[in-house]
Symmetry: C2
Amino acid sequence: MSDRRSGPVRSEAARRAILNATATLFAQRGYDHLTMEGVAAEAGVGKQTIYRWWRSKGELVAECLIEGLLLPNSFDLPDTGDLRRDLETWTAEVLRVARDPDGELLMRSLIAAAAQNADIAVRLRDSLGGGASVEGRLRAGAAAGQLREDAPFDVLAEALIGAIVVGALARIPSDPARLVGTLLDENTG
Amino acid sequence: MSDRRSGPVRSEAARRAILNATATLFAQRGYDHLTMEGVAAEAGVGKQTIYRWWRSKGELVAECLIEGLLLPNSFDLPDTGDLRRDLETWTAEVLRVARDPDGELLMRSLIAAAAQNADIAVRLRDSLGGGASVEGRLRAGAAAGQLREDAPFDVLAEALIGAIVVGALARIPSDPARLVGTLLDENTG
DNA sequence: TTGATGATACGGACCGTCTCGTATCGGATC
DNA sequence: GATCCGATACGAGACGGTCCGTATCATCAA
């Protein structure tokens, strides 16, 4: 028995056009005003082609997130060996984007999308450095003697990301150095 | 010149029916599946009566929040004199509601609503103890010698609420004692 | 031959506006 | 004080629009 198939193969061009259109419209209009018909039109594609491969708007946005089409690469957390400076750099970069008018809509839309869709929440957390990057960087810092070895890395990561998110939602101007300082100071080795 | 009006006065019965219906349907279906027509039907009211007094779904939900129809009163932060225990009690209560299936939908919907609507974000922050309650409780604790006098109260409050919110979004099981402990431990006087 | 594609028609859900007829208020008239 | 009148909120629902998710074309590449 062979699982060979005849007929045309899934069009990669259509897939990319759809994902790019989704990213464009998401950034322009936000999650709630993102429509499947809009994506189809922008991508020059039939609606059915979208529904054939994605079950919902949420899956579409989640895949854009995975593909890195929604968040800039600068959100990668650096590791220069200086834990505090790296965290401040990263926090400042995230806050800078969050304060830019376009970026603010993007962040708020991502949060709204994450609140409505578990897939997106997981992907967003990854993209924003959830389990992996922030917590990992904290561990590396501890290994380098810049943080208590037994510091609660997961809680600290959650608090840092949480403070940024809530600050963005409530439009509170946060100071990266104060924020990182508050969380690190008490836990330095 | 007088600003007297003739004609019937705004119906308080209709207002309450609308707000109650909004709260009920919000808790049942979440923010995005809350429809004006659904509210009108549930409240036994004409759609126009809603649109006459509220410009959007967001304003409606924000007013429910103000009226205390969406969040239980138990979210009031106690002050027994023991800062750490009070914060742990409050955090545990919030997390308890967030873990209940109905409560989870409610919390996630509130976050989604806050991300989309600035009014709701402000009201939610108030209801959840934003500037006022958590930060104020921290100050009181400092005055009682349970926290450094010069601790960054605002950042700590933001980090605590943020950690709870992000934990709820990403469905991370948080431990109230660890969370509060991490934030308080080395800011104690 | 098979199956993905762009296009488009379809019924249905909600939107926000508009207009009914009805009920209730204040002010003017008697 | 009784009565009428203009103003206005009310419940109900019709209306044109947008978007949903599904179904069905003819077309075209493997």
